[in-house]
């Protein structure tokens, strides 16, 4: 329970300074008063924090400082709960410059990114790693290529990597460090989380390389609960914490798309192994129906997406619409293409098929990869009886991305993109219900 006097939705910049890269000991220049709006984003599909701030500059800062695209931007911001986060970025571009009518000021946008991104674009990994797990290789690459405490002493260089199975020898083929880690994450197999759907991303807290299953496992026990009552004004909310946990907006960009689902191969696919030296072509058919109970889903009870008849008629009757060719190198064990590709394809798809876009008041204790729990009532004409929660929209949602916006009026809002792989189901529907009990509660 927050014990503060901030208004609901409060969030503000505590400190915003620019420093010359080449004069790190010089006192930083405070630009907090120049900023009219600041936003930045994080995503489980992005290994960097990127943002922009709109400045109203009446002192010729851009030319006098000057801003030349190598400035270190230190930002500290606080949320309604008084939680403060400090981060270091680098300015990399100036855009949307518009002079004031009297030419006595200028609007422009400074774009910034986490320092690791500068290291990433300036470096290339051309190296072989022998007899290591993918986790160990990623740690080595991260430490060698994405950490530079001399140049960026204030960067947060912590990384959390989920275990991977199997020893590998691999040559990184001239990839940028983040590309290399993404490359490795696509080749990672987890004995625990069968989807092998690894994501490498940066939160405001640290870097992570985890499967979405592990995110759900870790996130569900500490899921923040939100309700949706758009008619409720902040001033009418008696409990300030309740106010902070009310969705400001709710949109449903994707609910389902059967055509895309068929074409994606998420339901049924074939991993074709080509072993050139041994002159073998091996088909490895995969059906989501047979394996979906092996995965950790957002919900304990999920509804399989289709009826048996439709699945048989449109996913199975005409063969497989999608296949994946992989090349087997028998001298490099533990590639495990079959175990990785098809499950990953399915899980990636079903985590993109059902998504929500919501807006909440900003808070510094919510990160991408976390889980929130929504309580959304049925979208029905009101009746006398007590409204019931909509089973599809309510429940646990994985936070895929967060766009943070701090405005000049000290409001801090976040737009979240949420995903749920399979809808909560029950026996009243047309499809199968699967009770998933294992590890549901983390």
């Amino acid at each position: 329970m927050a014990e503060n006097t901030f208004d609901i939705g409060f969030g503000g910049i505590s400190n915003a300074t620019l420093s010359h890269y080449h004069k790190k000991n010089a006192p930083p220049f405070n630009i907090a008063n120049y900023i009219t709006e600041l936003s930045f984003s994080e995503s489980i599909d992005s290994p960097a924090l990127m943002g922009q701030m709109k400045l109203l500059d009446s002192s010729g800062l851009i030319d006098n400082f000057p801003i030349i695209g190598e400035e270190i931007f230190n930002l500290t911001y606080v949320d309604f709960f008084g939680n403060e986060i400090s981060q270091e970025f680098l300015i990399y571009s100036v855009s949307d410059a518009v002079p004031g009518e009297q030419q006595n000021f200028m609007y422009y946008t400074l774009n910034f990114v986490s320092a690791h991104h500068f290291l990433d674009v300036s470096r290339k990994v051309q190296k072989s790693y022998q007899n290591l797990t993918v986790k160990e290789i990623i740690q080595l690459i991260f430490d060698e290529y994405l950490v530079d405490e001399t140049r960026f002493p204030n960067s947060n260089n912590e990384i959390e990597i989920e275990d991977t199975a199997g020893i590998q020898t691999i040559v990184i083929p001239s990839l940028r460090p983040i590309e290399a880690i993404n490359f490795l994450s696509r080749r990672s197999f987890s004995d625990v989380n069968k989807s092998s759907n690894y994501h490498f991303y940066q939160t405001r807290e640290k870097f992570k390389m985890k499967t979405h299953e592990q995110m759900i496992k870790d996130g569900r026990p500490k899921a923040i609960e939100y309700t949706y009552n758009p008619a409720l004004l902040a001033s009418e909310i008696s409990d300030r914490d309740d106010g902070m946990n009310n969705l400001l907006k709710l949109e449903i960009p994707n609910r389902l798309n059967t055509i895309r689902e068929i074409a994606s191969g998420a339901m049924i696919t074939d991993v074709v192994e080509i072993d050139i030296l041994n002159k073998q072509m091996i088909h490895n058919p995969y059906t989501y129906k047979d394996t979906f109970q092996d995965y950790t889903h957002n919900e304990k009870s999920v509804r399989f997406p289709h009826t048996n008849k439709f699945r048989q008629d449109f996913f199975e009757a005409d063969g497989m619409s999608k296949s994946h060719l992989v090349f087997v190198d028998s001298e490099r064990p533990n590639q495990r293409y079959i175990d990785i590709i098809a499950p990953r394809t399915s899980n990636l798809y079903y985590h993109s098929e059902f998504t929500l876009s919501v807006e909440i008041y900003g808070r510094n204790d919510l990160f991408v990869g976390d889980v929130i729990k929504l309580g959304i009532f049925e979208f029905e004409e009101s009746s006398s009886k007590q409204p019931e929660l909509n089973k599809s929209f309510s429940g646990y949602w994985l936070v895929n991305s967060i766009d943070h916006t701090i405005e000049i009026d000290k409001t801090y809002k976040c737009k979240l993109k949420l995903s749920k792989d399979l809808a909560h189901g029950d026996n009243s529907g047309v499809s199968t219900i699967a009770e998933l009990t294992s590890e549901f509660e983390g």
């Binding site: 051309q126 190296k127 072989s128 022998q130 020898t169 691999i170 040559v171 083929p173 001239s174 990839l175 490359f183 050139i276 030296l277 999608k322 296949s323 994946h324 060719l325 992989v326 090349f327 190198d329 001298e331 490099r332 293409y337 590709i341």
Partner: protein, 432 residues
């Protein structure tokens, strides 16, 4: 990984660093430009993925490019770059000496050779440049008397050369007016077909030819065979040698002809044998001589001996039997000596001396004529008039020889008994 075929191949160019494929399937380890680093510390050669060759010649026994070769290919898995395939090599001219501690260098000590800097990868023999730096120099030095000079006169780009790292060479040379085929072993053994079709086959080591079935050789011109060592020819079945012209065999040592069966020598003309000494022996059976015409035995300075060790000697002639000699004639026998004639018997001599320990019987069926003076006479009553020793003196002593006895050959050289026929050919020795 590819979806629905290969749509995102990653093309590469690189340098072969290892061709010693443990699976012996022609794979190569290639360090690819802009994909792999120079540093062998960051990416040791042994960690590079094996590239599978795409063999455009459809010949699985292709020759993998040697270390240091520049090659071109693609990664089947695109940007992941873990499954390379190599399409072919690119010729060039090394302008730096290779350094096997650095990437993009062949670790082989064969290519690029230190002295190959500034020399194109295309073989010297194909370029027709500085052939003296090749095996041709050695070939000139080791030329045998009968060995033709190397017909090499290659002009670029007509000579297609394959030279292995140890020095084996295979050339298909289409150079105008100097067309050749040359297959050469590094030790110097070679087979070369020159522009006129002349073929030289030189073996510097031992040579073995084995034909599992029948073999035929046709030489339309003259043929010379020189064997400097011992030659052994073994025919395990029949051997037929046909010579349409004259056959001359010159043997500077002995000539030993050993035949398990019979020897049948047939000649349409004269059969002439000439030797310092001739010995013929039929050790089991008869020795027969037959001549349509005469049989002549002649000893120029020695004797002629005819012995029948256990049998008899018979001479038979349909007409006369003549024994003529310039000296004495002796008939000596331990048995009876019989002279029988169906006609008259005439004995002419300056003196006829009959000497016997027994009686001399004259038993004519008709009259006995004695011409001349009858001095000594023994009457039928047995009364002697002279001693017998006085009568035998004219015959001399009897021959003291008994059969068998060893034949004594005269070692003196003597001339031909028959002149050789004029064949119209000069003697080989004279020609040589």
């Amino acid at each position: 990984m590819a979806e629905n075929g290969f749509r995102n191949l990653l093309w590469f160019m690189g340098v072969v660093e290892d061709r010693r494929d443990p699976r012996k399937m022609g794979r190569l380890r290639i360090r690819c430009f802009d994909i792999h680093p120079d540093s062998k510390e960051d990416v040791p050669t042994e960690t590079l993925p094996w590239a599978i060759p795409v063999i455009g010649s459809y010949d699985f026994n292709y020759k993998p490019p040697i270390e240091g070769s520049w090659v071109f290919g693609f990664f089947l898995d695109g940007d992941d770059a873990q499954h390379p395939m190599v399409l072919g090599v690119m010729p060039g001219m090394p302008t730096t000496f290779h350094n096997s501690t650095q990437g993009f260098n062949g670790k082989s000590d064969i290519n690029p050779k230190p002295d190959d800097a500034y020399n194109p990868d295309v073989n010297r023999l194909a370029r027709g440049e500085e052939p003296g730096e090749t095996h041709l120099a050695v070939q000139h030095v080791t030329l045998e008397d009968i060995e033709p000079k190397p017909p090499y006169n290659a002009q670029y780009p007509y000579n297609k050369v394959q030279e292995t790292e140890s020095g084996h060479v295979f050339e298909m040379d289409d150079s105008p007016a100097s067309e050749r085929i040359n297959i050469r072993h590094r030790k110097g053994t070679y087979l070369e077909v020159g522009p006129t079709g002349t073929q030289t086959n030189k073996i510097v080591g031992d040579g073995v030819t084995i034909i599992e079935r029948n073999g035929k050789v046709l030489i339309k011109g003259a043929s010379d065979v020189t064997i400097r060592g011992t030659s052994n020819i073994k025919v395990e079945s029949d051997c037929n040698l046909t010579v349409d012209g004259t056959m001359t065999t010159n043997v500077h040592g002995d000539y030993r002809l050993n035949v398990g069966g019979g020897i049948y020598m047939n000649s349409g003309d004269i059969f002439s044998q000439k030797s310092s000494s001739i010995k013929q022996e039929a050790y089991l059976d008869s020795y027969n001589l037959f001549a349509r015409q005469h049989i002549v035995s002649q000893s120029e300075v020695g004797n002629i001996h005819i012995y029948a060790n256990t049998g008899f000697i018979s001479a038979y002639a349909n007409t006369d039997v003549r024994i003529e000699n310039g000296g004495n004639t002796y008939f000596n026998t331990t048995g009876k000596y019989n002279i029988k004639s169906a006609d008259n018997i005439a004995i002419d001599g300056t003196k006829i001396d009959l000497n016997t320990s027994g009686a001399v019987e004259v038993d004519p069926g008709y009259t006995v004529y004695v011409r001349g003076t009858l001095t000594d006479f023994v009457s039928p009553s047995g009364k002697a008039q002279h001693s017998k020793d006085t009568i035998r003196t004219g015959l001399g002593k009897p021959i003291d020889r008994k059969f068998p006895f060893e034949t004594v050959y005269d070692e003196e050289t003597y001339s031909s008994i028959i002149d050789p026929p004029d064949t119209g050919h000069s003697d080989v020795d004279e020609g040589a």
